[in-house]
Amino acid sequence: MLSTQKISLAKVAAKAFITPLTIRTFASSAARNVSINLHEKSFESYNCEAPALDVEISKEELVRMYKSMVTMRRMEMASDGLYKAKLIRGFCHLCTGQEAVAVGMETALTAEDKIITAYRCHGFTYMRGGSITSILAELLGRKAGISGGKGGSMHMFTPNFFGGNGIVGAQVPLGAGIAFAQKYQGHKAATFSLYGDGASNQGQVFEAYNMAKLWELPAVFVCENNRYGMGTAANRSSANTSYFKRGDYIPGLKVNGMDVLAVHQAVAYAKEWTVSGKGPLLLEMETYRYGGHSMSDPGTTYRTREEIQHMRSNNDPITGLKQRLLEFNIITEDEMKAIDKAARVEVDQAVEEAKASGEPDISEFWTQIYQKGTGVPYVRGREPEEFHRY
């Protein structure tokens, strides 16, 4: 497993035989961009060139990334608490530990690009424009929820984010279809379809690969490999765990998914690849979830606490970015603490707003089965006297 090593100026210089002066940073307040060198093991490629290891990025962007990850983690932690308080029912799959993937992706894409994923979707919903209140309210099954309280944890959507899908693997052909629509309509954009190591062996995933390659769709398939498909370790589910190579005729790239800048770099590369007409690409994000598969799974029966602790201590995406921000003097410790505090306040407030929202009106039970005004004349309820006429 790759580890995001603490990048100190001295170490980088020692490895790369370059002097600190060649690492352009923050010479004056006028310099907005930073050039950061990624660890040499950030990428591994298959039938393509790996992206450059030096990332050019603005200070503002870095701070935004930090803020996003911190807020996302707070949001997931709040969900954890709400679930344990029995205010969230049913399924709840948290992305704690995997924040770098959603954040790194978003910063490399535009609103024109589309994303679709499976059920570990709260973080993506947030990055794609969903408010924290609407996400938490959806989990609570309230009318302020992003799906009106009718979908729950696994069914959250925004105009450029197609969920939130409950059936493992089904989102991959859907994503190929979204890419198909982009190409059909002449949009210069890409669709990123995410799935896990567990879903990677689904037949429909390979059917999607085939059509994407055959028809040269602007589709990027992203395997979020967090090493476990529910309770089954990757090497117990997959005859070939090199997920970035599973595309066969589709080139692939393995990425350190715990490093938000590596994710950012890889996604920018992938977008450019597909939009420039090279067809689909596969990305494998090596990532890790601290929590169990869902809130019903403690996550400790199939892996050791030591492993979890090791990842938290050495590979945490937020800590990794924090170290970079401090190293390069992007912001101070106090400013960072202020961001942390603001995130906590924001999420706490969103929790209160979500809780304050009522349950959906019973009238919503009957709506949106079909598009408004185009449905059936009436819908039957639980017994003949219970029905709704439109």
Partner: protein
């Protein structure tokens, strides 16, 4: 009698008419005058050509509509329904897919989420079982689960039910399965007007619609009214059609069974047994229970006919709805279902004939029902 509805070359008059004219020309003409065909100019079209025109007209009118499926393009369609479309619209809009139903159905649904209007063809609905998760869990349910945020204006189509001699894996009727799913609309055309009008309506409908065609009907010719020949002809989804008015008993059927029901009705009228009203459902979901109820209030007897299996089928649903409605008090006899037999379809012709209802079976059941009286 059932030989009359074999696949036919284009004939100058429909087969049913032919049979009647052969048997009793005078009675036939008077009966036919009451029928609902409004063919003024005598134009006839096969069901296949009607579907082809529907596709062609809709694709001409709206760039967002595209067709995908196995052999729809270069092969001109496994059953030639999409003949000429690749030539006319090109490979961007008529797409030959690999044999991967789960994948290409999912792709079609995803493209509908993203703003296109796909027509997803399954070579037969049997193969769509590989894709049923995408039809039900992705297409049908997403508008509701997303609180109305995601739309899915997709049309799924293909031949459904029995063909001839294709045995168990290729002969299943899926009307009941899809008909039970909220979020879908399901239509089942019988004749050419149905086929054209319902397919056009399905394509224009912003919801996911399942179109259950019938392979044995593709080659059958029917008169097309002037209205039906128009580019804007649609048949309203959710409205059944009374193909033949009657007074003594109501027969409700869909798809190919409508033809058999009409033949049985004609036969019994000729024999002086009863005057049967034949309702062509046209839509499975929503089911036009109002038309059925009104008819039962008039005739007091009901027989349903379908090609699908008996348990949990279309007829079962109609029975249940009639029981729960005011029509129950108007029944003089229990409702009877005529269905496919509860067996996997056998191959041998004599056994296969035993698996699906035809005119004779329907006529027998009608006679029996006419003789029944509640409490008597």
């Amino acid at each position: 009698m059932s030989s009359i509805l074999k696949k036919a070359a284009v004939v100058s008059i429909p087969n049913v008419r032919q049979a009647l004219l052969r048997s009793n020309p005078v009675l036939a003409s008077s009966l036919l005058a009451k029928r609902a065909y409004n063919s003024k100019n005598g134009v006839e079209m096969t069901v296949r050509d009607a579907l082809n025109s529907a596709l062609e007209e809709e694709m001409t009118a709206d760039e967002k509509i595209y067709l995908l499926g196995e052999e729809v393009g270069q092969y001109n369609g496994a059953y030639k329904v999409s003949k000429g479309l690749l030539d006319k619209f090109g490979p961007k809009r008529v797409i030959d897919t690999p044999i991967t139903e789960s994948g290409f159905c999912g792709l079609a649904v995803g493209s509908a989420f993203a703003g296109l209007k796909p027509v997803c063809e399954f070579m037969t609905w049997n193969f769509a079982m590989q894709a049923i998760d995408q039809i039900v869990n992705s297409a049908a349910k997403t508008h509701y689960m997303s609180g109305g945020n995601v739309n899915c204006p997709i049309t799924f189509r293909g031949p459904n039910g029995a063909a001839a001699g294709v045995a168990a894996q290729h002969s299943q009727c899926f009307a009941a399965w899809y008909g039970s799913v909220p979020g879908l609309k399901v239509v089942s055309p019988w004749n050419s007007e149905d086929a054209k009008g319902l397919l056009k309506a399905a394509i224009r409908d912003p919801n996911p619609v399942v179109v259950l065609e019938n392979e044995l009907m593709y080659g059958v010719s029917f008169p097309m009214s002037e209205a039906a020949l128009s580019k804007d002809f649609v048949v309203e989804i959710g409205k059944a059609k009374i193909e033949k008015a009657g007074t003594d008993i109501t027969i409700v059927a869909h798809s190919r069974s409508v033809g058999f029901a009409l033949e049985a009705a004609m036969l019994l009228e000729k024999e002086g047994i009863c005057s049967a009203e034949v309702i062509n459902l046209r839509s499975i979901r929503p089911l036009d229970t109002e038309t059925i109820i009104n008819s039962v209030k008039k005739t007091n007897r009901l027989v349903t006919v379908e090609g699908g299996w008996p348990q949990y089928g279309v007829g079962s649903e109609i029975c249940a709805q009639i029981m729960e409605s005011e029509a129950f008090d108007h029944l003089d006899a229990p409702v009877v279902r005529v269905t496919g037999a509860d067996v996997p379809t056998p191959y041998a012709q004599n056994l296969e004939a035993y698996a699906f209802p035809d005119t004779e079976v329907i006529a027998r059941v009608i006679k029996r029902t006419m003789n029944k009286k509640i409490g008597a």
